[in-house]
Amino acid sequence: MCATCGCSGGTILEHHEHDHVHHHGHGHDHGHRHGHPETRTVTLEQAVLARNDALAELNRTWLAERGILAVNLMSSPGAGKTTLLERTIRELGAEVRVSVVEGDQETVLDADRIRATGAPAVQINTGSGCHLDAQMLAGGLRTLDPPERSVVLIENVGNLVCPALFDLGEQARVVITSVTEGAEKPRKYPQMFRAADLVLLNKTDLLPYVDFDISAFLEGARRANPGVEVLQLSATTGDGVTGWYDWLRARLPRQ
């Protein structure tokens, strides 16, 4: 079978609407330039995600004009994103105003948890969608209407694959993973780790109870994203969270 279009080599093909059939005898490794008189080939050379990328640029400009720092938090489900957000809002909220965009397939549970801390939150339900995109964030930002010189933390849909591909217009991407998920996550999901500006290794309070090889984890992260900063913390106990706050502080808009 032809590896490019799946057609069967040497057999009769009916790719196109013709009143005849033609025998390809596929000895080539592809191209299919038939030069049909009734068709013309148009070169597009266009990025598939061009529309999303353009919307992401608009978000970036919108945020920059208001001096808002937007951080995209990505992880698998259950890595502790919401718990980390709750603590961050409680402990950093006196310094800077924080609001949250929550992405989940269903429910408003996470937005309710965030609102309980006193921070404004908007929930985006993606339905069958597995990631937030730039258009969804644009809608979320308009609803949230965050104040100038504040921080917007975007909790992406729990998923270590899809969100990596979609630029939202954020200034930084943070990947959160937890010791209970196993040390091989960077090797299994290199695309996600490659997209990260910062990696947070969460639930370090559970290290005595799980078999987690930190050096193997760090080596995987280094291979996927040489030089990426990795911070170890526990959102539950608060151990190590000051490193995360310092990272955020270094990026805060000047008051």
Binding site: T4, C5, G6, H15, H16, E17, H30, H32, H36, P37, E38, T39, R40, T41, V42, T43, L44, E45, Q46, A47, V48, L49, A50, R51, N52, G129, C130, H131, D133, V161, C162, A164, L165, F166, R187, P190, Q191, R194, G220, R222, R223, A224, P226, G227
Partner: protein, 110 residues
């Protein structure tokens, strides 16, 4: 499964660019390191293109292989996955190819 969203982006972009012209063939470039599964895009394409000017079009997918240049020793080498190191042992490499996600060309009724 982001391939459905990716395929929707492809169909939407082509419809915007080509207007009402019926499309007979679409050629995409999906690099082997792009994070997008070409077979899944093939699976989604017929579903997504139904009822559009792309309905019934054939889909060609070209898959450029990964290639990188080492920032430490300068060597260029093939990259089968994003974890592969330079033969010199360095992880500090710049990707030259393999991440493509592009609509290369379309064939439309004249």
């Amino acid at each position: 499964m982001h391939e459905m969203a990716i395929t929707e982006s492809v169909v939407q972009a082509i419809c915007e660019r080509m207007g009402d012209a019926p499309v007979r063939r679409v050629c995409l470039e999906i690099g082997t390191l792009s994070g997008v599964v070409a077979d899944s895009v093939r699976f989604c394409f017929d579903l997504v293109s139904e009822g559009t000017t792309l309905e019934g079009a054939s889909l060609e997918i070209v898959q450029p292989m990964g290639k990188a240049r080492c920032r430490d020793c300068g060597a260029e080498f093939a990259l089968d996955d994003l974890l592969e190191l330079c033969p010199c042992g360095s992880a500090n490499r710049e990707l030259l190819a393999g991440e493509e996600l592009r609509i290369r060309e379309v064939e439309v009724m004249a």
